[in-house]
């Protein structure tokens, strides 16, 4: 009986472990393994061990631009894009969460429900919706801007390098914002009211209360949430793929888009081995950033 009771937790956890091994560990192992081989979908039977050659290729492949390797260019874009998008999500997320937490906002329960909608829509669908919303001829945004006489001709959001980069970043922020708001809102609700009451009695301004009470107590939630958002945003593919396919030229070709291109489209230059090396580099980078974040988070909690 005791043996059976001891066995139960392992039996219960077994399906999860199996699923984790099949869907997470095995693919990860295959990526690590492939990164040391010259392999391509174009020639499935040909597979040669090349050691670190694929990792050297990351810095040597300069066919498209002699100044930067294809990988370094995509990585730089990714860092800028992820930084911008997560930044928007954090700042706006805190602002909207504070607004939704305010007792002076009428109908805040309705807003709290509405705010989750973008998160509930599949990302590819959201991207399609935004592609038409921002369209220069039929888009709602241009229609409003023109009717309010803010612009005198349609704005083409996705047609220059800079505007496409910013637009895709903002759309990504729109998709990810609800999660941030909900998390920050739950964090705000856990802050005791008496702290604010005491601060009010001491004559603290709203800004002082925000800086001295809200931000420090919200810090663990901000760090956890932004870490999750950072990982998701780094892996974001659908939004850019639907809106610009990495264009114009290669202005929005972030690392996930570049990995896809190397694996499937630029097969004669790249292939699955090199795409795996790019993936390994991304996973390593994201892991390093995550470890740094977690350490910061621990310090934050100790405070």
């Amino acid at each position: 009986m005791i043996t059976s009771r001891r066995r139960t937790p392992y039996i219960l956890i077994l399906p999860l472990l199996l699923a984790f091994s099949i869907f997470m560990l095995y693919p990860l192992y295959k990526v690590v393994e492939s990164s040391f081989y010259k392999a391509s979908f174009l020639n499935p039977t040909f597979r040669v061990y090349v050691g670190l050659e694929n990792f050297r290729w990351l810095f040597n492949f300069k066919v498209f631009d002699p100044r930067w390797s294809y990988f370094v260019a995509a990585l730089s874009r990714s860092l800028l894009w992820v930084g911008g998008s997560v930044g928007i999500k954090v700042v706006l997320g805190i602002a909207v969460a504070i607004l939704l937490n305010s007792q002076f906002l009428a109908g805040r329960r309705i807003y709290r429900t509405l705010v989750i909608i973008p998160w509930a829509i599949p990302w590819a669908m959201s991207s399609m919706m935004w592609a038409w919303t921002l369209n220069s001829q039929f888009g709602l945004v241009n229609s409003i801007l023109l009717k309010l006489h803010i612009v005198d001709k349609p704005v083409t959001f996705l047609t220059t390098a800079k505007s496409a980069f910013l637009t895709t970043m903002v759309v990504d922020a729109w998709v990810g914002l609800p999660f941030m708001i909900i998390m920050f809102l739950s964090g705000l609700q856990s802050i005791p009211d008496d702290l604010y009451e005491a601060a009010t009695v001491d004559g603290a301004s709203d800004w002082t209360k925000f800086v001295r009470i809200t931000l420090p107590l919200l810090k663990p939630v901000i760090l956890t949430t932004s870490l999750l958002s950072l990982v998701w945003t780094f892996n974001s593919f659908d939004i850019i793929w639907v809106l610009t396919r990495g264009g114009p030229i290669r202005a929005t070709e972030t690392l996930p888009v570049a990995i896809y291109n190397v694996a499937f489209l630029l097969t004669r230059f790249g292939g699955i081995g090199k795409a795996s090396a790019m993936t390994m580099a991304q996973v390593t980078l994201v892991t390093v950033i995550s470890v740094f974040y977690i350490r910061t988070l621990r310090r934050g909690v100790e405070i």
Partner: protein
């Protein structure tokens, strides 16, 4: 326990019986762009009816994911027996050994059914690798009302084409001379190829040399850029597939597209006319068009080659082909199809006439997907004014030469 064992045994025997009774043929088909699951399933069911004991298992994938699906399933050793592919993928798939040459299975009667040009689109290194299932030529669709209002005649040269776009273009009223594509997508490359081929330019010549940087190609890209001055703003955000939405509004003078999209515009009340794509200044040809085909290919991994060939021939029989072309609004690849009553209608004539001026979309190109990426960089950089056509195409030629090795 015994009861359970009995049930399991009976079920296993039953399932084995079912499995043994049916020969399953796996077929990969696209959806989207007019291709529906229902239409394609109907063909499978008809074939099963005529061939008892055969089960056609169709797998459907969106056009945008079809290439990835094909190469990943081949890589995993699980390729479908029959694959619907874009003919431009044949060189890569043939070099991989992923599809079988079909020369010995194409009877002289079957060969005679199609235009010679059609076979060129599925031939690589002297071997036929597919049987064409869908073909398109394209011509200019124009808005007769806008042409008349602006006193524009049907253009027969590039100068006249530019002049026509210029005369109609009135962006303050939301009217555009021409609708053009510039988004990163295959159809943007094909739209540029319309002008490239019209000016007697090529990506790769008959001898396999990369000639995309030759003066006639440079002139074609310069013209594409010049013409874009009279197109809708922000053409970089448009694919050719989306342009119909703009043309349907009645505010676009002309654009290059399929007949089935022209019919949509007619339904919306636009007074539509057609004219063939005029030859460029460096070409002796009067007109031009890009011939795009999709075909049925057979996987080299299939263990049911005979059945696969039978299904391929069934799908591409004269009756089934004609039925398919009429249903989807594709240009007939078989010579005799043009004599069918439906193809006598006025809107079909320019598309059928264009066949004789056609040139295959990917002639001589060994790696279409890579080449497409490189050409998109060149087209977009010129459209955005980041480089001139000569520099952009020199850069493209340098990279395509590597891809052609």
């Amino acid at each position: 326990m015994r009861k359970l064992l009995c049930v399991v045994t009976v079920m296993a025997v039953f399932l084995m019986g079912v499995a043994m009774a049916e020969e399953v043929l796996k077929v990969l088909m696209p959806i989207g762009g007019g291709y529906t699951i229902e239409d394609q399933e109907a063909i499978a069911r008809e074939f099963e009816k005529d061939n008892p004991g055969v089960k056609i298992e169709m797998e459907f994938v969106g056009w945008a994911e079809l290439w990835n699906k094909i190469i990943t399933s081949i890589g995993a050793g699980a390729a479908p027996d029959v694959m619907y592919i874009a003919s431009r993928w044949i060189p890569v798939l043939a070099d991989m050994g992923a599809i079988i040459p079909l020369d010995e299975y194409i009877t002289p009667e079957k060969r005679e059914l199609y235009y010679d040009m059609v076979w060129d689109t599925v031939t690589y290194n002297g071997h036929v690798y597919g049987v064409v299932r869908a073909m398109s030529t394209k011509v200019f669709i124009y808005n007769k009302k806008l042409f008349e209002e602006n006193g524009v005649k049907i253009p027969t040269t590039w100068d006249e084409l530019l002049e026509a776009a210029k005369k109609i273009h009135n962006p303050t009223k939301g009217i555009y001379g021409i609708a053009m594509a510039g988004k990163r997508f295959v159809s943007t490359v094909t739209q540029f190829l319309q002008y490239l081929y019209a000016n007697d330019g090529r990506i790769v010549d008959e001898k396999g040399n990369v000639v995309i940087d030759k003066p006639n190609a440079v002139r074609a890209l310069e013209f594409y850029k010049e013409l874009s001055s009279y197109a809708q703003p922000g053409i970089i955000e448009w694919t050719r597939e989306d342009l119909i939405k703009l043309f349907e509004t009645g505010k676009v003078g002309m654009y290059i597209d399929h007949v089935h999209n022209a019919l949509k515009a007619i339904e919306k009340g636009v007074d539509v006319g057609f004219f063939l794509i005029p030859g460029g200044p460096d070409s002796v040809k009067r007109y031009s068009t890009v011939i795009v085909t999709d075909c049925i290919a057979i996987s080299s991994q299939t263990k049911k080659k005979d059945l696969a060939l039978k299904f391929m021939n069934y799908m591409t029989s004269f009756e089934k082909q004609a039925e398919w072309d009429l249903k989807l609004g594709f240009v007939p690849p078989m010579v005799k199809e043009k004599d069918l009553p439906e193809f006598q209608k006025w809107y079909w004539k320019p598309y059928i006439e264009a066949i004789k001026y056609g040139y295959p979309q990917s002639a001589g190109v060994k790696d279409w997907e890579g080449t497409q990426e490189v050409l998109l960089d060149a087209i977009q950089s010129v459209l955005l004014g980041q480089g001139d056509a000569k520099t952009a195409l020199s850069q493209a030629a340098r990279i395509i030469k590597i891809l052609q090795k």
